[in-house]
Amino acid sequence: MGANFESKYLMNKFFSKKLSIISFIFIPIIFLWHPNWLGFLGVQPYWPLFWLLPWSMINGSINGLIFGLFLGLILDSLTLDDSFTQIPGLIFCGFLFGRIKFHRDILVGHFRYGLICSFGSFLCGSLYFLQILVRNFSDSNFLILIPSLKNILAEVFLTGFFAPFICSQLLRMFKFSRRKLQ
């Protein structure tokens, strides 16, 4: 009887821990899936930020930084551009998001997620664009300027648009799993 209770408790604990890991595993899948019907001007929202924001807000800057690095490593392995990396942007966002406090008003909190993710997406997009610019500096870099600006702006808009829905749900899930663990 005691052993049965203990195994049940351990299973519960394991599942609660898994909740955030399962959602973490889904990020590269969604990143690869790239559903066109969710896009705007052929651009997708920057998916990893939706997970990174709630994770960093709950677990702090250092955790955010580490998981930003992990996400960057996974996503870089999925994209073919060897010369450019998403790691700096995600590390910086993870660290930055960890320093953000929860807001008392739920509604304001929702919109805050949108704004924060938009800013994060702008940051990541700009850092990525800077790498492309530096790499192609000798070539015709001005040609890349307009499509890249379009990419950044569309990504910022979409990330900010979807963040309030996705981030608040993930935040609730992570809080729930944390409470269960304690």
Partner: protein
């Protein structure tokens, strides 16, 4: 019995005189509109039987057949000439058909993932073509999949050939749907509508693979001319592709 019949035959128009009035109004409308209603109705009814439509289909089919025959003759001719010049040739036996299972054609990353990998003999550097022409090159393979860098990717730089003016250029992806053609000659007489194919001098691609058409030209630079290229193969809609296993 007779009485009943008489009553029913005599009074039907009195009961339904509003129908008569409606028909009258309709006929007045037809008269005023000079029969346009009937003409339009006839247009739709007779549309499937128009002789012009049928003839057009026959003519188009004949043109298709003619082009196919011409294409085959030219292929044979090309093969013969290449053999005479001792150039390398490509064979259709080495093509692998594959399905696009992941597509990133917007944003920064311009790549597709195919359902054929090293298990099926796909190698890094193989050429991927779709309906229309060149899509990109295989950059990475796993056991079951292969990742293709599209021509539109900022990582992609390919040697191309503008057939009309017989000049080589460099096709550079910019991260949008229209890669840029750079011609390192200010005097190059490139025009909108010029056809761009893979260069015979390229070390990455086999020659004569259709790529795109010049859409606009930018002449603001001093030492070179650049042009935007509209690709013939559209990576955002193509589901089936061919992987060419060609040694250049």
């Amino acid at each position: 019995m007779l009485g009943i019949r008489r009553i029913s035959t005599n009074r039907w128009y009195k009961k339904k005189n509003w129908i008569l009035f409606a028909i009258f109004l309709f006929l007045v409308f037809v008269r005023i509109s000079k029969g346009s209603f009937y003409k339009d109705l006839y247009y739709f009814i007779s549309k499937p039987f128009w002789p012009g439509q049928f003839q057009k289909e026959i003519v188009l089919e004949s043109i298709d057949q003619e082009y196919l025959i011409k294409l085959n003759l030219l292929k044979k001719d090309n093969l013969r000439l290449r053999q005479i010049l001792s150039l390398q040739e490509s064979s259709n036996n080495q093509n692998i058909s594959a399905v696009v299972i992941s597509r990133k054609t917007g944003s920064w990353w311009r790549q597709i993932i195919l359902n054929k990998g090293s298990k099926d003999g796909v190698e890094i550097g193989n050429i991927v073509i779709g309906p229309g022409g060149l899509l990109g090159r295989v950059k990475d393979t796993s056991l079951f999949t292969s990742s293709v860098t599209l021509v539109t990717s900022p990582e992609s730089k390919l040697g191309v050939w503008v057939d009309r003016i017989q000049i080589n250029g460099l096709l550079v992806g910019l991260g949008d749907d229209y890669p840029s053609l750079i011609l390192y000659s200010k005097d190059a007489d490139i025009k909108v509508g010029d056809f761009v194919s893979s260069s015979p001098a390229s070390t990455l691609l086999p020659s004569n693979i259709p790529i795109g058409i010049v859409q606009s030209i930018d002449e603001t630079l001093k030492s070179k001319k650049t042009a935007k290229i509209s690709l013939l193969a559209k990576p955002h809609v193509i589901d089936w592709v061919q992987i060419l296993k060609v040694n250049i």
